[in-house]
Amino acid sequence: METTSEELTLKVEDLWVSYYLEGREAFAVRDIYLDVGKGEVVGVVGESGSGKSTLAHAIIGLLPRNSRISKGRILFKGRDITKVKTDQRYLYRGTNIFMIFQDPMSSLNPTMKIRDQLQEAIDVRSGRRGWSVGMWKPPKGDNEEEIVDSLERVGIKRPRVIMEKYPHQLSGGERQRIMIAMAYLLKPSLLIADEPTTALDMITQAQVMRLLSELRENLGLSVLFISHDMVLVGQIADRIVVMYAGKAVEEGKAEEIIESPMHPYTKGLINSIPDGYKNEKRIESIPGSPPNILKLPSGCSFNPRCKLAMEKCISEDPETRVLGGRKVACHLY
């Protein structure tokens, strides 16, 4: 026991999440351990289908109807929130855990003004979540200044004009800024950012990344940053967890993972990034495709794509080993 769970914002232990697909249970997240300390940014990297997004949804309690947490604990500030009844889970969202989604085009309510959607965040933070706050619309509070301030913080010019608009009148970048403004208003302890820049242009991506790092500095919150982009994660995160087929295959300090990856999959991901000019040096790609969670290979899930696969890799799933502050699940170590 290195750290007590009270110092950690989030501690995930032995988490298994499954989907009902084609009449049976298939595991999208398997045996995940994850610690997020106070003020720490943890990056989760993996390709599509690696279970990273499922992990995020499990933590905030927004799994789709056909999936469930089949095993494990999610400790938020020391309390196991998987034990909390479904109709009480909302108490852990918003001011405690908040999440920003991939597609800013659809993550805001199209028939509600930006102002009202931000007002809701203030209502939640001030404990006004019930009927009294209005069924159809949050009441116009005296929080206008606060809303304007939050919009200014995320670099929106003319905030008083923007807040009277509807989402479809804004660009994708602006909408993602609104989501970050929402985080400023909620002041959560943990922010989950699920591929927050994937749907954006490069320049907008950079702006959003900067806003996220400013948000983290200003509020001192913990961040779980989920992305398929190794470099992006490496730039913002303190620690990185690399996921493959629902499992964490490697974990460690961001620079260490980027500079000296251990697991063949992590190496492959880093080597896959184009580097250099045409005809200089071929990048190395990982052969094959990520597995379907309904048809996972035996032993180490990565063995069919691994150049270094041994017989043991096919017969036996590797244990996670701790090697000097790093964790890796590979028979090579």
């Binding site: 009902y20 009449g23 056909n66």
Partner: protein, 291 residues
């Protein structure tokens, strides 16, 4: 996936199919030889047998003129089963053609055709069909049935035009159409190879869902005497005729009405099941998982 597994995947689909096929079979037998199904003559008036309640001899009872209601229902089936298919088929064909031209040619042609379609679409369909077949049928009583069918096609095709157009537009925007154009395929080739196959299943689902509506519309026309001319029995008309014998003789209108309902329900079930299967946005996988 074979048709059999699709059918068995959903009880709704299966129930609908059984009803639809059952009616088709009954209608065919009735058209070939009514005597195979019932000993009575559907049109023989015998006041001695008038207003008999349902019994083993007269399953649905007899009407106020002593005709066996069950026999009359069976005798009405060939017309009442076949006509909705003809109407749906013709509406889908006409509407489909208009929609396809509109969606694929675009521009002014599209604009013009859609304005035209909108006018028809905004009409109160049943009433317009009633008016058309009443007025044209006044002087041509024998052809009244055809006027009714034409009237129902007139009020029905615009829905298909809209549906097909929106589907064509959706498929036309697909990247694989761009690729086909880049490969040098002609418009007709693209239509045949890519667009028609991709919209067909949806149009078929729509037709099955629409069949129920057409059955209802037609039965309302028949209710007002605009169906097949006498002496051919008509389910809708039987309901109307039975009204005069109320409240005593309820069976001579209730059973024909029930038959129409069952026919429409069959298509509703089948169409609903088919739609669920092809477009399971209600989270169909959950049901399959829990089963």
């Amino acid at each position: 996936m074979s048709a059999r597994t699709v059918l068995l995947s959903s009880k709704t689909l299966l129930a609908g199919a059984v009803i639809i096929v059952g009616f088709i079979v009954l209608a065919i037998i009735s058209a070939l030889d009514l005597k195979l199904l019932t000993p009575y003559d559907p049109n023989k008036i015998n006041f001695a047998l008038a207003n008999l309640p349902p019994s083993t001899a007269h399953l649905f009872g007899t009407d106020s003129e002593g005709r066996d209601v069950f026999t009359r229902v069976l005798a009405a089936l060939p017309n009442d089963v076949a006509i909705p298919y003809i109407i749906a088929g013709a509406s889908a064909l006409i509407g489909g053609l208009v929609g396809m031209i509109s969606g694929y040619v675009g521009g002014l042609v599209d604009e013009g055709l859609m304005r035209f379609t909108d006018i028809f679409l905004a009409f109160p369909g049943i009433l317009l069909a009633l008016a058309i077949s009443t007025i044209l049928g006044q002087t041509h009583v024998a052809e009244r049935l055809y006027f009714s069918m034409i009237a129902l096609i007139v009020v029905n095709w615009p829905i298909y035009a809209r549906l097909v157009r929106s589907q064509v537009l959706q498929v036309r925007g697909m990247p694989y159409i761009t690729l086909a154009k880049a490969a040098g395929l002609t418009r007709w080739e693209i239509m045949r190879r890519h667009i028609i196959p991709n919209i067909l299943s949806l149009v078929i689902v729509y037709i099955t869902l629409d069949m129920g509506t057409i059955i209802l519309f037609y039965s309302i026309l028949a209710f007002f005497g605009l169906g097949a001319p006498p002496p051919t029995p008509e389910l809708g008309r039987m309901v109307y005729d039975g009204l005069t014998a109320l409240p005593g003789n309820w069976w001579s209108s209730v059973f024909p009405a029930l038959t129409i309902t069952l026919m429409a329900v069959g298509f509703s079930l089948f169409g609903e099941g088919l739609r669920d299967y092809l477009d399971p946005r209600g989270g169909d996988y959950v049901r399959r998982a829990n089963a």
